[in-house]
């Protein structure tokens, strides 16, 4: 039995939306103190729509796959929808994660939330 589903391996081997957005208007970076993994999300939001999203991840296979999947799930979506993205939805879209790897999808949810909060903070200034 393989450690991860085919979907996880696909997103791990060919991660979508990898990289940096130079003129991002929402950036979030989160980490998991226990495993030490770190995820960074860059958002380019215009008219309340996520026009572009990119990520960088220092982490395990499922952390990389979760960030990749999460970026696909919010790209082109309204900010309000992205705000509702849950780690469960990311894990399901990946055809599941091993129990002890569920927190990797939590990291993806948190990274997006953190980037969206950054965007909102910037808007207020």
């Amino acid at each position: 039995m393989a450690l991860y589903s085919e979907k996880v391996m696909d997103h791990f081997r060919n991660p979508r939306n990898v990289g940096v957005i130079e003129d991002a208007n929402g950036i979030g970076e989160v980490g998991n103190a226990k495993c030490g993994d770190i995820m960074k999300m860059y958002l380019k939001i215009e008219d309340d729509i996520i026009q572009d999203v990119k990520f960088e991840t220092f982490g395990c296979g499922s952390a990389i796959a979760s960030s990749s999947m999460a970026t696909e799930m919010i790209k082109g979506k309204p900010v309000a929808d992205a705000m509702k993205l849950t780690n469960k939805a990311v894990a399901e879209a990946l055809d599941g994660l091993p129990d002890y790897k569920m927190h990797c999808s939590v990291l993806a949810e948190e990274a997006i939330k953190s980037a969206l909060e950054d965007y909102e903070k910037r808007g207020k200034n």
């Binding site: 970076e29 226990k34 495993c35 991840t57 220092f58």
Partner: protein, 395 residues
């Protein structure tokens, strides 16, 4: 596939397989049975015992067959603790980077009121005999130090530590699971009172091992039942496995010098190649290590992704020990030699086998370089290091 995880387990040798098949197909009797057919299995069992004993300089009656290294470690430590307790001695000395079979047994004893001292293994992964000596107290009942570490391969000064224990009249156990069959071991010359071994690390079968315990050391039973193994380990003996283990050990010892020379050359080539990767470091002393072991940390990347991508390239390697996967904590061995969490996470252990070629070595070096560079390419940790926002730890 290039199998570079021989510290996790090895391929059984042809000779060991044939021995196992022979005893499974033909000599399948129960060694405890009285009739000739059963006694033939008994003969095979005792022959294996004599072989194993001879190969480590012991007597046959000092060899107890077990289900592997973990059981042997448990039984050695529990026995020494029970002997100690009878004499009011409840202090045990070990090291911070032992296998969990040792560490978890010690933890159990700690809960039962034993005092445990875990010695520092220093940056190079080596224990200092003088620190063992300094740690011994009047109530020390056991010193247990592994022969060679399973993750970083460092070889401990066993003979010197044994001599100190002899002088101080303290029992000395060594977990030699990674060393036996790969390094010369003689329990008399090396001053060893108890030693654990596991067949699957020297081309024998899984689920078989042995405990050497010097004459006069009374072992406690972990498994109660029949009178097998002189009443010290109940259960019908795994005769095919035991015979195959003896065969495998014999073969490993025969080929030891030749294999060690070849492996050391390939290992050194791997180390040289991987050192070229910027901000990397070898873990453990570069010379006093198993001929098969290469262990590196690469800053800015995480070990699991590294392993998965190497797997895609047909290289089977490990990060930390196989037992650690499933746990999120970085390797206790790398932490023990002073690697910080971030760096300990990006570790790679290659434990090469005797059939490795120069082409394999070149391919491994090239693949690791590619994968490390690729993963660094989208690592936020690496980005901060390169941008000077955080400090490199590895030169």
């Amino acid at each position: 596939m290039i199998y570079a995880d021989n510290a996790a387990t090895t391929k059984m040798s042809r000779r060991a397989i044939e021995k196992m098949v022979l005893l499974t197909e033909e000599t399948y009797g129960n060694p405890s049975s009285l009739y000739t057919f059963g006694q033939r299995a008994k003969e095979a069992l005792e022959e294996a015992r004599a072989t194993v004993a001879k190969l480590i300089g012991a007597e046959p009656r000092e060899i107890l067959f077990t289900s592997g290294g973990s059981e042997a470690d448990n039984q050695a430590i529990i026995s020494a603790a029970e002997l100690g307790k009878k004499n009011g001695k409840k202090h045990i000395i070990s090291s911070a980077f032992e296998h969990h079979a040792v560490l978890h047994t010690l933890n159990k004893l700690k809960k039962e009121g034993f005092e445990i001292t875990l010695l520092d293994v220093h940056e190079n992964g080596l224990i200092l005999p003088e620190e063992v000596e300094a740690a011994i107290k009047d109530d020390t009942c056991l010193v247990t130090i592994m022969f060679a570490n399973n993750e970083i391969g460092t070889i401990q000064p066993i003979r010197e530590i044994g001599a100190i224990c002899r002088k101080k009249n303290v029992l000395f156990h060594t977990d030699a699971v990674q060393a036996i069959g790969h390094l010369p071991i003689n329990v008399i010359d090396d001053n060893i009172d108890m030693l654990s071994a596991s067949a699957h690390k020297f081309h024998g079968p899984k689920g078989v091992g042995f405990l050497y315990a010097k004459k006069g050391i009374r072992l406690s039973n972990l498994i109660e039942g029949g009178a097998q193994e002189r009443g010290r380990r109940a259960g019908t003996e795994n005769v095919p496995g035991i015979a195959a283990m003896a065969e495998a050990l014999n073969e490993s010892v025969e080929k030891m010098a030749e294999n060690a020379e070849k492996l050391t050359e390939k290992r050194n080539k791997l180390i040289k190649g991987l050192k070229e990767i910027p901000h990397s470091a070898i873990n453990g002393d570069e010379v006093k290590r198993l001929p098969s072991n290469v262990n590196f940390c690469f800053e800015g990347i995480e070990g699991e992704s590294l392993l998965l991508l190497l797997d895609d390239k047909g290289i089977a390697a490990s990060s930390g020990s196989a037992c650690t996967s499933g746990s999120l904590d970085p390797s206790h061995v790398l932490l023990a030699i002073g690697r910080v969490h971030d760096v300990a996470h990006g570790s790679l252990r290659l434990s090469i086998g005797e059939d490795i070629t120069d082409e394999d070595v070149d391919y491994i070096i090239k693949s690791v370089k590619e994968v490390v560079e690729y993963l660094r390419g989208f690592s936020p940790v690496w980005r901060d290091l390169v941008a000077g926002k955080s400090q490199f730890i590895l030169p």
